[in-house]
């Protein structure tokens, strides 16, 4: 049993099931991020944890107490909304202490709690203002203050940064992470931004179409995506998905594909498994992250298995620290991430070093990873 348990939870609106058998167990102090495309049911799941939506079947428990049917205010949770949802007619101070007031906390204690939170979030000068007189970032802070002051068991965040501009979003992201490290409170955080998910979380649940596609640490999700959806959703630029043929020769298993010149390319798998061998003679999808395809000098020196191929460069996109190089592999565009000073140019043949340790095979029929 974890700190927050979501056991086989489903949600239906009428006859439409929008969440299917969600099963997640969160430990105390974890930072769980729910990530997925629009409409996949992230907010619905979060609202069910908060008690703002009913649970159609299954069970949600916090600290081993079943929460089904328990009123939101009795779950000892706090929520930060996408629109911040600050009460427009109250000052910042009143916004922060409203929850305490509703719970019958005496005024001197409310005042003290408010001052502590204001100090922590550096919003002391704003306490007398109305929300309408604050900037987006300041509102964000106040919304967090309102959640913090309750000292809840679980924090729930629903896309708290999506209304901020790019620069502020990065700053606030860091701030939320710092806050989590300082307070150690359990957090469930919804976002559709996969970078936010990677940087903030201790664990990620990637969702699509009402299913949890994969639950794991950011590294697990990134390095060993469970299926093609997770592979293409997480990471930017997204993972290259190349159609290859499997050929087993003795103990070695090769992936065969064509380069832009129509020449056959053979890449030996680093971990030839039995499952992979079972696909001998069939086409599979090979996923390779852009940073696992580099110029030979920039290849990962710790990798025990690098394959070098020659291919025609089509486009180069310098991005400052790196240069993204597009070429055609197996009939599809393939993005490589090279050092900024790699000697490549459009319409020239170049050497590409592929780190096969990072290559992930997928079964195109089931879309699942071949393990």
């Amino acid at each position: 049993m974890g700190f927050l348990d979501i056991n086989n939870v489903t949600k239906s609106y009428g006859s439409v099931e929008v969440l299917h058998q969600v099963d997640i167990s969160v430990e105390e102090g974890e930072f769980l991020v729910l990530v997925g495309p629009s409409g996949c049911g992230k907010s619905t799941l979060l609202n069910m944890i908060a008690g703002l939506e009913g649970i159609s079947s299954g069970e949600i428990a916090i600290k081993d107490q079943v929460m089904n049917g328990v009123h939101p205010s009795k779950r000892n949770i706090a929520m930060v909304f996408q629109s911040y949802a600050l009460y427009p007619n109250m000052t910042v101070g009143q916004n922060i202490t409203f929850g305490l007031e509703m719970h019958g906390v005496p005024k001197p204690e409310r005042q003290k709690a408010m001052n502590d939170v204001a100090k922590l979030l550096q919003i002391e000068p704003l306490l007398a203002r109305k929300p309408g007189q604050l900037s987006g970032g300041q509102r964000q802070r106040v919304a967090m203050g309102r959640a913090l002051v309750r000292n809840p068991d679980v924090f729930l965040f629903d896309e708290p940064l999506s209304n901020l501009d790019a620069k502020l979003r990065v700053d606030m992201r860091t701030e939320i992470k710092k806050l989590h490290q300082k307070l150690g409170t359990t957090i469930v955080y919804v976002t559709h931004d996969q970078i936010e998910a990677m940087t903030l979380s201790t664990r990620i649940a990637v969702m699509n179409g009402g299913y949890v596609q994969q639950l794991g640490t950011p590294k697990e999700i990134y390095d060993t995506p469970a299926n093609l959806f997770v592979a293409s959703f997480m990471g930017s630029p997204s993972m290259n998905l190349i159609s290859v043929g499997v050929k087993a020769e003795g103990d070695t298993i090769y992936a065969e594909t064509d380069n832009s010149e129509g020449e056959t390319i053979r890449l030996a798998f680093a971990q030839p498994s039995a499952a992979l061998k079972a696909h001998d003679g069939r086409q599979i999808t090979l996923g390779i992250r852009p940073e696992a395809i580099t110029d030979p000098e920039g290849a990962d020196r710790n990798s025990r298995h690098i394959e070098t191929i020659r291919n025609m460069v089509e486009v180069t996109e310098p991005a400052g620290s790196d240069t993204f190089v597009a070429s055609t592999l197996g009939g599809k565009e393939c993005i490589a991430r090279m050092r900024a000073d790699a000697d490549v140019g459009p319409n020239r043949i170049a050497d590409f070093a592929i780190n096969m340790e990072k290559a992930v095979p997928f079964d195109p029929a089931t879309e699942a990873r071949i393990v």
């Binding site: 205010s73 949770i77 929520m79 427009p88 929850g99």
Partner: protein
């Protein structure tokens, strides 16, 4: 009474501008003329009205007609003036306006923030109240008031106006609260506020403009109502409008036009006052939501 600023007005030439002002002045005069006639003649002795020009200034200024209309004129059979009926109207209007506004606000709150199965159908049915002509309900309403023992009383009139007004006020508040962010209600729920506390502390403080709209609308409609007053009130609960009618049409003696004018102005004064005090909010409230701020 909207606040139109000079900045976003279209620039016009001198000639056009003169023309526009002339035109506006003409219309203003046209609309103010009846009021002017009423005021002038309410300040004349009856003989001056009989003898000459309605538009002329009084030769002898007097407030006698006003005093008479207020406290001594013959209304029906009693020489009571309009005073007791003015208070009857107040006793009817204030509770009816307050109750219908409060109920409309609560209905709007429930219909937008505490939605339930069939809520749109219920709202649709309530909207019917806005389209049913008064005359249709006279007989059923008389029967209901009789059954409740409220016939011919001020509480009975309050009930009639409440039932009739709540459709409008619900419509106003529902549309206003539809644009009110539901996340605020959810945040308040998590904070531990209950149904009435959320309404009282979160929604109502932001409802100023629509409360004003509802109050003005209800006040003018109920104050000016004649049909319900004439049908359901007895002498002790008769509202101002009915009394004014009785004053003007009482058949005994000479027709005191100056008193009639003064009485008519007295009857219109409260609604005029409400418009002057709250009119600017009325326009603002009606416009709320139609333009993004």
């Amino acid at each position: 009474m909207a606040v139109a600023s000079a900045e976003n007005a279209v620039r016009t030439g001198r000639f056009t501008r003169t023309f526009i002002y002339l035109f506006l002045l003409l219309f203003a005069l046209f609309y103010l003329m009846p009021l002017l006639v009423m005021i002038l003649n309410s300040l004349k002795p009856l003989a001056e009205i009989r003898g000459g020009n309605m538009l002329a200034l009084p030769k002898q200024w007097t407030i006698e007609p006003w005093l008479s209309a207020w406290s001594t004129a013959q209304v029906g059979v009693e020489p009571t003036g309009l005073k007791p009926f003015f208070w009857n109207s107040i006793k009817m209007v204030v509770p009816a306006v307050v109750l219908s506004t409060v109920m409309g606000a609560l209905n709007g709150y429930v219909l937008t923030k505490w939605r339930f199965r069939g809520d749109t159908i219920l709202f649709g049915l309530m909207l019917f109240a806005c389209f049913i002509p008064f005359q249709i309900v006279l007989i059923p309403m008389a029967r209901v008031l009789g059954l409740l023992g409220l016939a011919g009383s001020t509480p009975g009139l309050v009930l009639v106006h409440l039932v009739y007004g709540v459709g409008f006020t619900t419509l106003y508040f529902r549309n206003y609260y539809a644009a009110f962010p539901t996340e605020l209600v959810r945040a308040a729920q998590i904070d531990g506020a209950g149904f009435f506390r959320i309404f009282w502390r979160i929604l109502l403080p932001s409802s100023g403009p629509i409360v004003v709209v509802s109050v003005i609308w209800q006040f003018t409609n109920i104050w000016n109502d004649f049909l319900f007053g004439a049908s359901f009130a007895d002498l002790d609960s008769m509202p101002m409008t009915v009394a004014l009618n009785n004053l003007v049409s009482s058949s005994t003696g000479v027709k005191e036009y100056n008193v009639h004018f003064a009485g008519a102005i007295l009857a219109a004064l409260p609604t005029l006052l409400v418009y002057i005090v709250a009119g600017r909010y009325f326009v603002r409230g009606l416009m709320a939501g139609s333009v993004k701020g």
